[in-house]
Amino acid sequence: MNATSSRALLLLIPALLSGCASFSAINPGASSQQVETLVGKPASVWKNADGSEVWEYPRGPLGVETYMVTLGPDRAVREVRQVLSEEYISKLHVGMPRDEVRRLLGRPRDTGFSDLNDEEIWSWRYREWGVRNMELYAQFDRATGALKKITRFQVDTSDGKRK
């Protein structure tokens, strides 16, 4: 290996690491300081009645993952979950309040509205089976804040051209 390519490799490694903050490196029992050192400050913190907390890390709008780190009342990590996945998305149901959706899937990539149906729309991008780019829409009734409709689509990147 020549000097140029090894320098390139050395440069590449930190770039890769910063590209995906290493949530896999957070182990149960790690302290809140260790979490901050590894992945930075959360975008939101949800406090539970029992003193435990959930730290939310959306990787959007460019990323397709959102991590939830649960800390016990002892400020030690209990679990790390990537919530933009089938397991969590399938828990959505009609009638679910907006706050509950927010806590389940984290901050949406984008929010919009429809005047015609008086709806608020939240959207997320995620990857299914690690290969398919998906778009998820949650449509809420604006007056009641209840989930009305859930739709999922596979994004076609071919721009209508046949492959």
Binding site: S90, S114, D115, I121, I150
Partner: protein
């Protein structure tokens, strides 16, 4: 009694089918405006051109996957009939086009959504291309011009339909 009901149902069925899908294939070049109205009803919108020609727009409803455009010449007879929810028409939509350009090309969208953070307005049409799909046109909302287009495949859910729309 039962036989009478069956007869009634048999008589009703063709009427229901005809109402569910107005038959645009029965319209031929040379047909007059009253003939078109008699066959497929009044259009959802009419686009008038300076030369006296017109285009009549027939969207088929929220879950439908077709929109028909009936073009009349300045001689007030049908020149052409097109089904416009198709890649042939979608591919003509280019960045910079206006809302009216898009509307005249592929008709009324089934839905319009606004995304304030991106100052974006999204128009959506449902269509069929092997699978059911959505065609989206994303506009710069303030500028009123096309930014880009997005095609989405409807996904069949096999989880018992809990998240089904």
């Amino acid at each position: 009694m039962i036989a009478a009901l069956h007869r009634a149902a048999a008589l009703l069925a063709p009427t229901l089918l005809a109402a569910a899908c107005a038959n645009f294939s029965t319209i031929s070049p040379g047909d007059s405006a009253p003939t078109v109205e008699a066959r497929v009803g009044a259009p959802g919108a009419v686009w008038k051109n300076a030369d006296g020609s017109e285009v009549w727009e027939y969207p088929q409803g929220f879950y439908a996957v077709q929109t028909f455009m009936v073009a009349f010449g300045s001689d007030h007879v049908v020149h052409e009939v097109h089904q416009v929810l198709d890649e042939t028409y979608f591919s003509r939509i280019q960045p910079g086009m206006s809302r009216e350009d898009v509307r005249r090309l592929i008709g009324k969208p089934r839905e319009i959504w606004y995304f304030p953070a991106r100052d974006e307005e999204t128009w959506t049409w449902r269509y069929r291309d092997i699978n059911y799909r959505l065609f989206n046109v994303l506009f710069d909302r303030s500028g009123g011009m096309v930014r880009s287009t997005l095609r989405l495949d409807e996904v069949l859910l096999l989880d018992g339909g809990r998240a089904k729309h």
